[in-house]
């Protein structure tokens, strides 16, 4: 649905060059919620703004729903007719909502419909529909100033959906909101994704946002995507940076010297198995649980457990093999010296 290939963006000012994007390949499949996470300055904001050409990339291509936007004339401030039409099919929500204070909530939602050229009655009908969809049917006549942050973002979402887009871009949509409101907005995005089959590309600096709504994620650093994929795959991938950030166990104990410490990740069905007691019974070994957590990531139960087996790694090869056979992902953190990362 959204594909970028080798996207670069270099800003030039007063002879200095700043590379914001250094070759980004992104592939967002239809109907998924894709999150791009990174610290500020990682280039994620530039990336999302390149997707609808609010920033014209220096090189590379952007294709949204089969249309290669980078091939259309104009960009940034002087968009050509074709690019403007393509933008109408891409909704965008912003961190600071960007609602017009001179217009009522309903009129704000009607704005994109005015641009499309719908007549008055049709605009009203559609705006009312959209406001019901985001749960603000009773606020149509209010002005943005009379709304709370969460309500403003709901209006922003309704407005972004007015043109019936297939793609919704979310530029830190929840970063100006408190945790409770963030959850309700994320729930709304997830609902819209499921009800309307909307593809969502969001950028955020909060891992929690990725955890609660995304199917796939990409981690950006220094203008590059350093890791990307479906969350369930990432969690199963040994040494995945995103998985570690999504599911940190660092505060757990690190075991004793001379023992083997394992990190076991289990997903879906495997989480129902009593593998710890099975292991102890089968191999007659002692298992010390250092820590464990279960979370819902991408709509699936995922658990992670850190356990300590007595004896060095070579003494525990067989039990580790048994666990892997059960469909569990096992990372051996270290053995013998007890000095663990």
């Amino acid at each position: 649905m959204i594909t970028t290939t080798d996207l670069t963006k270099v800003y030039r000012s007063r002879g200095r060059e700043v590379t914001a994007l250094a070759g980004v390949d992104l592939h967002v499949r239809p109907g998924e919620v894709y999150g791009v996470v990174g610290t500020s300055g990682a280039g994620k904001s530039t990336l999302i703004r390149c997707v609808n050409m609010l920033e014209r990339p220096t090189s590379g291509t952007v294709t949204v729903d089969g249309v290669e936007l980078t091939a259309l004339s104009g960009g940034e401030n002087r968009a050509g007719k074709e690019l403007r039409e393509a933008r109408r099919r891409i909704g965008m929500v912003f961190q600071h909502f960007n609602l017009l204070s001179s217009r009522t909530v309903q009129q704000n939602v009607e704005l994109p419909l005015e641009i499309i050229g719908l007549d008055r009655t049709e605009r009203r009908r559609r705006a009312a529909e959209l406001l019901d969809l985001v749960g603000l049917g009773d606020k149509a006549r209010s002005y943005p100033n009379q709304l709370s942050g969460g309500q403003k973002q709901r209006v922003g979402i309704a407005r972004a959906l007015a043109g019936d887009p297939k793609v919704l871009l979310s530029d830190e949509a929840t970063s100006a909101l408190d945790p409770e409101t963030t959850r309700s907005i994320l729930r709304l995005l997830r609902d819209l994704n499921q009800q309307l089959g909307l593809t969502v590309l969001l950028i955020t600096h909060e891992m929690d946002v990725i955890k609660s709504v995304c199917d796939s994620a990409a981690l950006m650093r220094g203008g590059r995507v350093v890791e990307s994929g479906e969350l369930t795959d990432l969690l199963a991938k040994p040494g995945s940076e995103l998985a570690r950030e999504l599911f940190p166990l660092s505060e757990f104990g690190t075991g004793h010297a001379g023992s083997t410490v394992l990190e076991i990740t289990f997903q879906g069905d495997t989480s129902a198995q009593p593998f710890v007691s099975q292991l102890a019974r089968t191999y007659q070994i002692d298992i010390n649980i250092l820590g464990a957590a279960v979370e819902t990531i991408a709509g699936r139960m995922v658990g992670r457990m850190r356990v300590e087996l007595s004896g060095a790694h070579q003494d525990n090869v067989v039990p580790i093999g048994y666990l892997r056979e059960q469909g569990l992902q096992v990372d051996v953190l270290g053995a013998a010296d007890g000095a663990l990362a």
Binding site: N52, L54, N77, R78, A79, R84, E85, A86, R87, R88, I90, G91, M92, F94, H96, N98, L99, L100, S101, S102, R103, T104, L111, P112, E114, I115, I116, S142, Y143, P144, N145, Q146, L147, S148, G149, G150, Q151, R159, A162, G163, L169, A176, L177, D178, E180, T181, S184
Partner: protein, 245 residues
């Protein structure tokens, strides 16, 4: 000079001043508004960024603003005669008044339009809006309180300039004050006219302030009127969502 005599002279002169200011204010807004918007659009990073055009407009505006009004009036005499057929009377005075006020108003418009949040422009761009749509549906409506304040300031400036135009036969209250108050030593009459000008200016300012306040307070609940720029941000109606910012 009796009060009746004064009134008989003041009434037509007041009408002339109103006509003079009214016509020049209308033309000034008509021409100055697009000029001011163009100054913003053609500026660096603007929607129609064009260094040459921006510099050219800016240069003309600055020149026009630097010329003292009294000199502008005299310099424009032949142009005025060509345009309205005469160089005296209130009709003639509207020409230099308008030409003097356009660049002044354009700069005020520029400032107001520049204050519109860049994010709003981006939002409309992301909806596929054209530059014209952005100007018409975003920049101007959002800048409206500032524009109303600019119109107020411009009208008040025009009232004081119109009085200056009176000294060289521009008609209106200015001519009256010079002819009677100054040349005929009717000091009392002169002060009456000055008082009238003060009342006119005050009335315009109050009306303008009211317009600015009602425009700026769109959507802010309560009948209280607040000064522009001091309106607190945030929700006026508490509900389940809490604003963090």
């Amino acid at each position: 000079m009796t009060w009746d005599q004064m009134q008989a002279l003041m009434w037509p002169a007041t009408q002339e001043t109103f006509q003079m200011v009214g016509v020049s204010a209308a033309v000034t807004v008509l021409l100055g508004l697009p000029l001011g918007v163009l100054l913003v659009l053609t500026d660096k990073g603007g929607l129609l960024a064009n260094r040459a055009v921006n510099k050219a407009i800016g240069f003309v505006v600055n020149i026009a603003r630097s010329v003292p009004f009294i000199i502008l009036m005299i310099a424009l005499i032949s142009f005025t005669r060509w345009l309205v057929g005469t160089s005296i009377g209130w009709q003639a005075a509207t020409v230099p008044l308008t030409i003097g006020a356009i660049p002044f108003f354009a700069r005020l418009v520029e400032t107001s339009v520049r204050e519109v949040d860049r994010g709003l422009v981006e939002a409309v761009q992301s909806m596929g809006g054209s530059t014209w749509t952005i100007v018409r549906k975003t920049l101007l409506p959002e800048a409206l309180p500032g524009l109303a304040a600019s119109v107020t300031t411009t009208i008040i400036t025009l009232v004081s300039y119109s009085a200056m135009a009176g000294t060289v036969g521009g008609g209106g209250l200015g001519t009256l004050a010079v002819n009677y108050g100054y040349q005929r030593f009717e000091t009392a009459f002169m002060w009456v006219i000055v008082a009238e000008l003060v009342i006119i200016v005050t009335a315009v300012q109050l009306l303008g302030d009211f317009a600015v306040r009602s425009l700026a307070n769109r959507g802010r609940t309560g009948g209280r009127t607040r000064l522009l720029g001091r309106t607190p941000a945030g929700p006026a109606t508490p509900d389940e969502d809490v604003v963090a910012s």
